[in-house]
Symmetry: C2
Subunit: 210 residues, 2 copies
């Protein structure tokens, strides 16, 4: 089956545009997506950019909010500018890793991003995580215990190290047959590559309308 | 008439993709383009990034070269990875400003980028500038004297300051009715905005095939 890896950081703004689209696009395209949460801050810190590309660049930050709003409208994705930036994403990423083990990372990630980006309930906050776990009928006490246990902590560290080894320096990044595609702007190109690497669907363009 | 400003730095790699496309796209779309050379380094230096986004980030740099090659192929643009990065662009930008005064900035810019990106004759080198001026039947001694005169130096400084004031932090940037679009990935969106702000051509999509 055609497949791709979807590497993402929960605090990445542009990653919302991909999280909101990739699941449905991939289903239509017949592409299997491996969801790969990781932490971007350790990678950027090692490059001397602990605050990422926006907080130190007010012009770029202002542009980013406007551009996100335009791109969300372009794709037909609900958008409400969050009050908080950046969110604290460590616990959310650890829960995402639990989801990878249990097979619900996609649903958890779509829901936690949606609350952040449409209802201003910040990723990582109790109001966000509590609601998502309740709606998914997960047992919070059990999930939180596992998320904060040594096994998941080590797994997230290893996953972040693997991202760095692959050459990943930003979120979202799509990996198809070892080829990196960085940024929501490359989602379509990456999906086409994943499709054509094994088969060409009847009308590729139709697959990318959501 | 529909119009846009095209702000670019001669040393910007992704700007090649826009320089190679925007003239023809705009002609087909009936959009007038104001070519606006500026210097990105002073703007990034003021933000504490004198080396730009790539030289300090090896993973991003490696990705950039691969991505450029893919995007050029995607757009059908000739591409040969230059040996030198980054080029010294000060003199070229000053000549570009002379071209803005005289009405040949577009042709000069297309030619100087083309030599850099298809024949590995670096922007700013004698082999590049000499060839371009000869092919355009410009008088090198006169052009160089004007380019290095006080009037053009001041004009380029003022243009760079205007870029900063507009909120520009990267190249290429397209400005349509005060709205910024950063990056070659936004050229189509900016052109559509320029079109629809005054009229809608018969089939917009056809305009963007080069």
């Amino acid at each position: 089956m055609a497949s791709m890896e979807f590497w993402f950081e929960y605090g990445s703004t542009y990653s919302y545009l991909s999280v909101a689209r990739i699941g449905r696009m991939a289903q239509r395209a017949g592409v299997e997506v491996a969801w790969r949460p990781f932490l971007l801050t350790p990678i950027l810190s090692a490059l001397g950019m602990p605050k990422g590309p926006f907080l130190t660049n007010p012009a770029k930050m202002a542009y980013m909010w406007r551009d996100l709003e335009r791109r969300a409208a372009w794709h037909g994705i609900p958008f409400r500018k969050p009050s908080h930036y950046p969110p604290d994403t460590l616990l959310t990423a650890r829960i995402g890793m639990v989801g990878c083990q249990d097979g619900w990372c996609r649903e958890f990630t779509e829901r936690t991003f949606a609350l952040h980006w449409t209802e201003d309930r910040p990723i990582g906050s109790d109001g966000n995580l509590g609601t998502v776990m309740r709606d998914m009928r997960l047992e919070p006490a059990e999930i939180l215990a596992r998320a904060q246990g040594d096994e998941i902590k080590a797994a997230l560290r290893a996953q972040t190290e693997r991202a760095r080894t692959l050459g990943i320096f930003g979120s979202p990044t799509f990996v198809v047959e070892g080829e990196l595609y960085w940024g929501d702007d490359r989602l379509k190109e990456a999906m086409e590559r994943a499709c054509t690497s094994e088969f060409v669907p009847p009308d590729v363009d139709l697959l990318f309308e959501i």
